[in-house]
């Protein structure tokens, strides 16, 4: 018999209470998994877009939300001249209501720039020239619009042919319509205007922070985001993450008090037994470990339950129509280990006080209790 076996026996003697406690903290852990999965997913789906495009810096006009205000494309030539910059690609990104889809990203990409490189054609082909009146759809966009190569698509007043369906390697790319920059400029009557410049740095160059400062000095009124940090800098995302963390912490706190209550009830009931163990010569530290092991085991089980519940919740959310193409929740090893880690931490935090209480039990009084 080991301490763990003893612990399991103790937990199984009040099955309903143990199960309810596991459910309580399990829901808390589930909330953590779902909320952080969403927050990380939001971040990853945007940073992924830059990762698959191998973009290091993004230049835009300062101010505005995720979709930035347009500025003259001539700025991209200036950026290209800056030492440390190896390639630039300009973009005009619009969020439009396309046919029956309420909102969709239309991404006008500089022709022959690296922005076309990450598109893996699933069916059809890429455009053959900048002014061929065609578009390529991301896989998700094709699904939402119900289009295949050869179909026509109306973007504002113009009609285009869908020539290809492409996997862009990131949700943001797959949910978008890809079109050559001059065509979208024509549709939107924004001749020679862009709203993003994607920059690739020379691999041997100075660090992105230095280059970004130089760009800011050369182009007044612009803002340079470092691709990896672009989302963590956005206020919206910061708020979203803070809210998710806040909610998670509240859920965990509630769970912690729940477990603490259970553990206290459990040790009060067993004062006499703990007295017996002390009388039989058990070290106080072993009693402490036993109670802690009980609450940690309880929370570990809750962690597993919570992870399953959280993943299920995320899967359900992913199926919701309003979620599609927006956020791909991230269920990563990091998230799951964090959830389990938090569960164990809750176990320790909630078990410590009841466990310390046990070590102060006077065995000669405790064994006389009936």
């Amino acid at each position: 018999m080991t301490l763990l076996q003893l612990t399991l026996k103790n937990l199984s003697r009040r099955r309903v209470r143990t199960a309810l406690t596991i459910m309580g903290i399990g829901l808390g852990i589930g909330a953590v998994v779902a909320l952080l999965g969403l927050a990380w997913g939001l971040e990853a789906s945007w940073t992924d877009a830059y990762k698959v495009r191998k973009t290091d810096l993004v230049v835009r006009r300062s101010g505005g939300g995720l979709i930035a205000q347009p500025f003259p494309d001539s700025a991209s030539e200036q950026v290209a001249q800056i030492p440390g910059v190896s390639q630039v690609a300009s973009l005009l990104t619009e969020v439009l209501s396309i046919e029956s889809v309420p909102m969709m990203v239309v991404s006008g990409r500089q022709w022959q720039s690296f922005l076309w490189e990450n598109l893996k054609i699933v069916s059809g082909r890429l455009p053959t020239s900048a002014d061929e009146k065609v578009v390529v759809l991301g896989t998700l966009a094709a699904e939402m619009l119900e289009k295949k190569p050869g179909d026509k698509i109306t973007i504002e007043i113009d009609e285009f042919e869908v020539v290809g369906i492409a996997d862009g390697g990131a949700v943001v790319e797959n949910g978008a319509i890809m079109i050559s920059l001059p065509l979208l400029q024509g549709v939107m009557q924004k001749d020679k205007m862009v709203n993003f410049i994607n920059v690739r740095l020379d691999p041997k160059s100075r660090d992105p922070h230095t280059v970004s400062q130089v760009i800011q000095q050369h182009i007044p009124g612009c803002r340079v985001d470092i691709a990896e940090e672009v989302l963590s800098q956005s206020d919206g995302v910061k708020t979203f993450k803070a809210m998710n963390w806040g909610t998670s912490i509240i859920a965990l706190l509630v769970g912690t008090f729940g477990v603490m209550n259970t553990m206290f009830m459990s040790v009060f009931e067993r004062t006499r037994e703990i007295g017996i163990l002390l009388a039989l010569g058990w070290k106080r530290s072993r009693i402490l470990r036993m109670i802690l092991l009980e609450s940690v085991t309880l929370c570990f089980a809750a962690g597993i339950v919570g992870i399953i519940a959280g993943i299920a919740l995320l899967k359900i959310l992913t199926l919701m129509p309003w979620m599609q193409g927006r956020i791909e929740p991230q269920i990563t090893i990091e998230l799951l280990s964090l959830a389990l880690g938090l569960a164990i931490a809750v176990g320790v935090a909630s078990g410590l006080y009841p466990a310390l209480h046990c070590t102060r039990i006077n065995p000669s009084l405790a064994i006389r209790q009936v």
Binding site: E99, T154, E156, V187
Partner: protein, 260 residues
């Protein structure tokens, strides 16, 4: 303690009084003031559910609007989607509750509108030319009849009665106006039978524009007789545009161009 309570009561009374103090005319003036005076380009997404159907039909529409130098209000509505109806359009010139204009469809060409077309649905939706003219705002008989909370928005109810001279199909319009934002939250349009509305309009989403005014951007028009419904959703807009006079001619109806 007592002093604080008195202050609170006084404050509440003052607030209540200010909300009560509007007249019907002031409220309607507020609603009218929110309408932009310069040229506008807007993209609308309309979702029309015909009577007896559950599957909505999606229409993508562009709208150009201006106040012409002669003071007339000029509207141009053009259909972009579905592709088989692309190019259908409606031109309206409105003045003092009267309208002239033309309709166009690529298959049957351009026609001049007749006064009897007033109740014609815009692209066959439940939103009619009469609704677009919204003449009731200028009718002389406006009465504040009460207040009601819609959801958690306190609204004033105004009844607008049509004068005998009005050509509108509406004889009575009842509007629920959010007096804080001057936004019409709900409307009932009655014909000669003032017990049963012909149409109801419900505002679903309100946004604040650049100039600080609140405007309904999503609203649903229901034809109470048939149950047909159209939800109009503003997708994007450009304001303070200057249109050439040629943008509001029958010829302009036959071509599609975006905002200047």
């Amino acid at each position: 303690m007592l002093a604080r309570l008195t202050t609170l009561l006084l404050l509440a009374a003052t607030l209540a009084a200010t909300a009560q103090d509007y007249t019907a005319e002031q409220l309607l003036a507020g609603v009218k003031a929110a309408r932009p005076s310069g040229g506008i380009y807007a993209r609308l997404r309309m979702s029309h559910t015909p009577a007896g159907s559950t599957k909505p039909e999606i229409l993508q529409v562009q709208v150009k609007r201006r106040i012409a130098p002669n003071g007339h209000s000029e509207h141009l509505y053009q259909l972009l989607f579905p592709a088989n109806r692309k190019g259908e359009g409606l031109l309206l010139k409105i003045s003092d509750g009267q309208f002239t204009g033309s309709s166009h469809s690529p298959s049957s060409g351009t026609k001049t509108l007749q006064p009897s077309d007033r109740s014609l649905g815009l692209f066959a939706t439940t939103l009619s030319i009469d609704d677009v003219i919204a003449e009731f705002l200028d009718w002389p008989s406006q009465t504040l009849t009460g207040t009601e909370n819609l959801g958690n928005i306190p609204c004033h109810i105004i009844e607008s009665k049509a004068p005998a001279s009005s050509k509108s199909t509406a004889r009575l319009v009842r509007s629920w106006i959010d007096a804080k934002r001057f936004v019409t939250q709900k409307m009932q349009v009655f014909g000669s039978d003032t017990t049963r509305p012909l149409k109801t309009v419900l505002t679903e989403k309100v946004l604040r524009n650049k100039t600080g005014y609140y405007l309904p951007v999503t609203f649903t028009v229901t034809d109470t007789a048939t149950g047909a419904q159209t939800t109009v959703e503003g997708v994007r807009s450009d304001s303070d545009l200057t249109f050439p006079d040629t943008a509001f001619t029958p010829e302009a109806l036959q071509t599609l161009t975006t905002a200047p």
